[in-house]
């Protein structure tokens, strides 16, 4: 799956979990750019992504990402 497709799918998950249809993500988006994305909703987002793609992130991975791009890279590597 192309990274652009993944970004759109992840964006849908963000919109659903954070209840905000206007969220637009880019690879450089960080928690500071997205309203409602805090340490608590972060884990909800992760669990929702894991469910959607039927993969599991390690705790280390979850703590390591600096922006959405790194999350997508990690996700893509698991789907490869």
């Amino acid at each position: 799956m192309q990274k652009e497709d993944l970004l759109l799918k992840v964006q849908d998950i963000f919109r659903d979990v954070l209840d905000d249809e206007e969220i637009v993500l880019s690879e450089t988006s960080t928690a500071e750019d997205v309203e409602g994305w805090d340490s608590l909703t972060h884990i909800q987002l992760i669990v929702a992504i894991e469910k959607k793609f039927k993969i599991k992130f390690t705790s280390k991975e979850i703590l390591s990402w600096k922006n959405v791009g790194e999350l997508i890279d990690c996700l893509a590597s698991k789907l490869a």
Binding site: D16, V17, D19, S39, L40, H42, I43, Q44, I46, V47, A48, K56, F57, T58, S59, I62, L63
Partner: protein, 574 residues
Amino acid sequence: MRTFQQLKRLLKQPDPDYPRVRLALLGDSATQFLATAIQGEALARGICLELFEGEYNQVERQVLDPTSDLHRFGADYLVVFQSSHKLLEKYSLMEAEQRTALCDERLEFVRTLCGSFPGKIIYYNYPEIGDGVFGSYQNRVEVSFIYQVRKLNLGLMTLSQECPNLFICDLSELQAKLGRDFCFDSSVYVSTEMLLSLDALPYVASRTLDIVCAIRGSFKKCLILDLDNTLWGGVVGDDGWENIQIGHGLGIGKAFSEFQQWVRKLKDRGIIICVCSKNDDDKAREPFEKNPEMVLRLDDIAVFIANWENKVDNIRTIRQILNIGFDSMVFLDDNPFERNIVREGIPEICVPELPEDPGDYLEYLYGLNLFETASYSSADKDRTKQYQVEARRTSSALSFSNEADFLRSLEMVSEVRGFNAFNIPRVAQLSQRSNQFNLRTVRYTEDEVRRLGEDPSYACFSFTLSDKFGDNGLICVVILEKRDAGTLFIDTWLMSCRVLKRGMEAFTLNTLVEYAREHGFRHLVGEYLPTAKNAMVAEHYPRLGFTPDPEAPERLFTLDVDTFTPLDCFIVSK
């Protein structure tokens, strides 16, 4: 079951006009998600929680310090989630020789908790975590973690029998059903310090609210059953009573036998069992009367309706006979079409979506926890008989041309007593259960009932009622508060709806006035506090001759004891 996300969304809606309940939540791990799930689940059940959330890992301090935020908040309910995970950490840090004291130490804390918090405590018991240190040999080693955890869970059960305000929420059973890997998610734990997975949260919240609702008097009292392919396999009208699938011989009969055993245990616990089936009445009864493999007998069924009318009307008839709310009924039917008709016709009734395979019925029903309760007394098991007697009484009433003749013919006798060791459990139970004939709907636990009974500033009455058809047991409770030298305030007046229209209200008032006169009180003051369910007693006091208080004419009512003339009734005192 709603998802965590759905529960969270419920909180975003504007505050609905629901009854408010003050609830505090304390945990030894982070509890933000649990708090959200509990609040959402409460809203889904029509309760608005005012929530106090203690800071993470301050359980002991909040409880033991009388000036803490918890005690200042004054909660009705305190939910305490001390986790197996943190208990295991504590255990692991102890010196090896002290580990056998783990259970006792924790139990001692819970005992202290029960003594220092005045409201109801909902305490989560401990799901098992096998740490693999001893293997199965841990069962023989007192110092093993599992040994301590199982001992602790047993200790909590014993403690809850001693402490009336302690209600155990069975997280251990829930985890056994859902699985530990389902309930715990290491990435959630590592990043948030929370010990319940997002998928487990709605289940835990639901089990917690089951207890809150049961204590508040909202719980299931009646189970209505379809027959063909619900209670036995096959269609009795086609197959005949001897060929239905039941018992260990035929087809999947054993699934139905075990299902019937479950129903029978519910009946023994006091759940009213009724039948509602599309069948010829005589054919529907035959398996109960003739098939030796049947676990349930006609004696177990309070109301038996088999005809070709629609089930909505039949369930309405059952409701009329039993005189309980639709929301306290559960209807089980294998046919999705019938289920939907009943759901549409009677939205309040609970209609579980039974699985297609009868072999799955029980595991599915166990998971729903439909029959939570906040009290149990051995008298509960006689309830079926009382309703069967009531059905006979109803048909007898039809043969009298006027009500007075009928009432006279019943030869009613009431025994009036204070509160004593024998009747306190029943008084508490009636206080928890009565919704309709309940003037102020103040709920009392056994412990509170005992204290009221001993308090000289209160006068307490319990009434039984029996007649020539049978004994109804304890059916009415009145608690009078001695407000001042001349006034008795009616703190509680509640009655079982089984004895409506017998003149019991008149007999009760005559008794109260007699007491007032003997003790020099000149006024009885009654109060009506409306709830969603007690509209039937809105006019209770005016009907009995009380005068509305000019300040609050719909709420407060006064009776002048001196000018009162005893009301007619056909009940004599024992």
